[in-house]
């Protein structure tokens, strides 16, 4: 048993750290470290920089143009990226639809879509949730009817992150309404420029427009855009959700935010001393910090199990719950650290982050759903 990185892993960390430091654009870096909004162009530019280095697919196998890094290397890369203030790589292509196409797509789909995810040409959106299908995702109603060589899609998707920037969307659609709800779902890839697709932004509680409604009105989708089998979509959706959760612990960003919290709390004065020296406040920070230390090791345990080719299991649910609780706790403490100057609501302000991060315990399968998964799959209840 050994909790430290091997010499090879440390060498890899140094290489990643040096590359990131030399290549992350200064203006983007400043935005990330100060919690300001990162633009579409910032995100794309970083994807392209990585792509030129051959690192555009940090979580992809080599045969599909990825780096072939093992889970521990991927973790190190993400941690270094977060610490250095790079924009977050878009998960929708790299971590969601990409792995689904690799596993369940045909050769033509792999050749058409995978390279364009790496180059940033395609910005994907995730079309899962609907107004009536949140936690109970399988009850989705968006209908796709086969008409000759295409499907006709009608319905409404919602909570679609960054759909305003996307040119492609992968959707779960109902292709058979007559069978058990999970058995009539298919996985469709839809070009967002197709006539009948409408994107309407939703303004969130922090004033941001991060998520959208996407409407489909008689949208014609060629059958070649069906992934895998018709009515096999639920299997692919579950496969994807497992991947989404593995990366949701966000240990790297949490460490970065903890550093920021400590900086704010040492600058802020209380009774003539730094707030961080106040025993009450220091104890609250420490309580979150020790939880984060534990989560980091828990995360590494899950990764090590994955690297040894033992299947990544429902432990991902644990990482999701704890990771989001810590993110939220840090944003709350930061707001309290800033005191009254946290009240003005403007982009990048601490209050905006606090409000915005409420989403983390709701998205990607709410934390209550994750507890159901733990209860059923790990505890066998």
């Amino acid at each position: 048993m050994d909790l430290s990185f091997s010499a090879e892993e440390l060498a890899f960390r140094d290489e990643a750290r040096a590359f990131i430091a030399a290549n992350v654009p200064a203006d983007t870096r400043r935005k990330v470290l100060e919690g300001l909004e990162v633009s579409r162009d910032d995100t794309l530019r970083w994807q392209q920089i990585l792509h030129r280095q051959g690192w555009g697919g940090p979580n992809w196998p080599k045969e599909f143009g990825g780096t072939g890094w093992d889970p521990v290397q991927q973790y190190i890369f993400e941690e270094e990226s977060a610490a250095a203030g790079t924009p977050r790589l878009l998960p929708f292509g790299l971590k969601m639809v990409g792995p689904v196409i690799m596993r369940f797509g045909n050769v033509a789909q792999r050749e058409r879509f995978l390279p364009r995810i790496l180059s940033g040409e395609h910005w994907w959106a995730q079309g899962y949730s609907e107004p009536g299908a949140g936690s109970d995702l399988a009850s989705l109603k968006t209908r796709a009817e086969r008409k000759g060589d295409h499907y006709v899609v009608n319905g409404q998707k919602t909570w679609i992150s960054l759909a305003q920037h996307a040119n492609w969307i992968f959707c779960l659609v109902r292709t058979d309404p007559a069978v058990k709800k999970q058995a009539g779902i298919s996985f469709l890839l839809i070009d967002m420029k197709t006539p009948g697709v409408t994107v309407r932004p939703i303004t969130l509680l922090d004033g941001s427009q991060e998520v959208n409604e996407v409407w489909f009105e008689d949208v014609e989708v060629p059958v070649e855009n069906l992934v895998g089998d018709e009515n096999g979509g639920w299997t692919y959706a579950k496969f994807l959700l497992g991947h989404e959760r593995t990366n949701i612990a966000a240990v790297g960003p949490c460490k970065r935010e903890l550093t920021r919290l400590k900086r704010i709390a040492s600058e802020e004065r209380k009774d003539g001393k730094p707030l961080l020296a106040d025993p009450g406040f220091a104890a609250r920070v420490a309580q979150v910090e020790v939880e984060l230390m534990a989560l980091e090791i828990t995360n590494l345990r899950v990764l090590a199990a994955e690297a040894e080719r033992r299947a990544p299991g429902p432990e991902a649910s644990l990482l999701k719950i704890k990771g989001t609780e810590i993110q939220q706790a840090l944003s709350e403490l930061m707001m309290h650290a800033a005191g009254p100057r946290a009240l003005p609501l403007r982009t990048g302000a601490l209050a905006a982050a606090y409000l915005n991060l409420r989403k983390t315990s709701i998205y990607g399968g709410s934390n209550e759903i994750q507890k159901n998964i733990i209860a059923q799959t790990i505890l066998g209840l």
Binding site: A277, Q287, I374
Partner: protein, 380 residues
């Protein structure tokens, strides 16, 4: 980075699990608990035969130290079994004290006999009013003739009634809250000037308050420099207590899951109710976070002392302590009326978890330690 033990380590872990599973059932433990001594010499001898008392003994004295993973696996098993015998007191803390502080001759004289199970030594350190602060020692040792005598009071000395030798920390110089000037003396438990007020702790361990009235003692190692060795021994003890806690936590969660699957109300097993399912999911998260920190504590305790070790061990004890409290309390709650009876395992586990949360410094103490160590590390 590797989280799996080697096959040899796993073999030892399995052997301990099997031994305690077969020979330390709840019924056996209850008999030991109800006996006058509160521990079993027979079990103790068997632990010696299995080599489990020599994990922290150096190779030169026939032991296995550092045996980091072996110690971790053994402690997880003894925690699950709620061992009443002085394994942590004698085979871990006292052994490390003699290993770190004793002269070559003392190590040779004491460690092999202790490893064989023929002599039990336990640390006598904490004093009334000192809470968990290891620096606050008022007991004094004076030269007397060719040797030393010790005078003072020690409180809650775990396993003192079972011990042949008390390893007493005492001042040979310095103020009562100074690390410097502390010495360690071996005092015969049945020797003159030693008076025990014995009792059981809340989890059934035999313990005593000890009054030392000019009791003759032997200086272990050199005079006035014992604090570093005491720190090393209690740090190792803390790591072992964390691992014991993980064993007890897992056993508590398992018992609760099992109970809610069998207990029927409203015509269904109560495990079907989501309020209970989510509570058990929360318990599992605590157990896994505690397990992660028990690994960290085990690794760090074997490393050189310093800010980083202190910080990691304090963090581990906080996470483990919170888990002990939450999982223990919820397990009792989910067992309903049965949970508050002496009859079933979970109430014993709850008592052990409560004691473990307080062992070698409670959660609040270690949260303060963590803050202090972090501040020093960051130079603030």
């Amino acid at each position: 980075m590797r989280f799996t033990p080697t096959p040899e380590q796993q073999q030892l872990g399995d052997m301990v699990q099997r031994f305690l599973g077969e020979q330390y059932s709840l019924e056996v433990r209850r008999k030991i608990l109800d006996s006058r001594e509160g521990w079993s010499r027979e079990i103790w001898s068997k632990l010696g035969e299995l080599g489990l008392l020599s994990l922290q003994v150096p190779e030169e004295q026939g032991g296995m130290a550092p045996a980091v993973v072996e110690t971790l696996l053994t402690a997880t098993a003894t925690g699950k079994a709620m061992l009443l015998e002085p394994w942590v007191s004698s085979a871990i803390i006292a052994t490390v004290l003699i290993r770190e502080l004793g002269s070559a001759q003392q190590r040779e004289e004491m460690l092999p006999v202790m490893a064989a199970g023929d002599r039990i030594a336990v640390p006598a350190h904490l004093e009334p009013g000192a809470r968990y602060d290891p620096k606050v020692i008022a007991t004094v040792a004076r030269r007397s003739g060719g040797g030393w005598t010790v005078k003072g009071q020690k409180s809650v000395v775990l396993h003192a009634p079972a011990a042949d030798v008390l390893l007493v920390s005492a001042r040979t110089s310095g103020a009562p809250d100074e690390p410097a000037g502390m010495s360690l003396l071996a005092v015969a438990r049945e020797g003159p000037g030693v008076a025990l007020s014995p009792y059981r702790t809340l989890d059934g361990i035999c313990a005593a308050d000890v009054e030392l009235a000019d009791a003759p003692g032997t200086l272990i190692g050199s005079e006035g420099t014992a604090f570093a060795g005491l720190t090393a021994a209690f740090d190792q003890g803390l790591a072992v207590r964390c691992a014991e806690a993980v064993g007890a936590l897992q056993a508590t969660l398992d018992a609760t899951v099992e109970y809610t699957k069998t207990r029927q109300q409203f015509g269904v097993p109560i495990a079907r109710f989501q309020a209970l399912q989510h509570r058990m999911a929360d318990m599992l998260i605590h157990v896994e976070q505690a397990r992660s920190m028990s690994y960290l504590a085990a690794m760090r305790a074997a490393e050189t002392p310093g800010q980083e070790r202190r910080r990691a061990l304090a963090a581990a004890k906080v996470v483990v302590g919170n888990a002990c409290r939450f999982v223990g309390q919820q397990a009792v709650q989910l067992h309903g009326g049965m949970g508050v009876t002496d009859e079933i395992a979970v109430s014993h586990l709850f008592r052990r978890l409560t004691a473990l949360e307080m062992a070698l410094g409670d959660t609040a103490h270690h949260l303060e330690q963590f803050v202090a160590a972090s501040a020093e590390a960051e130079g603030t």
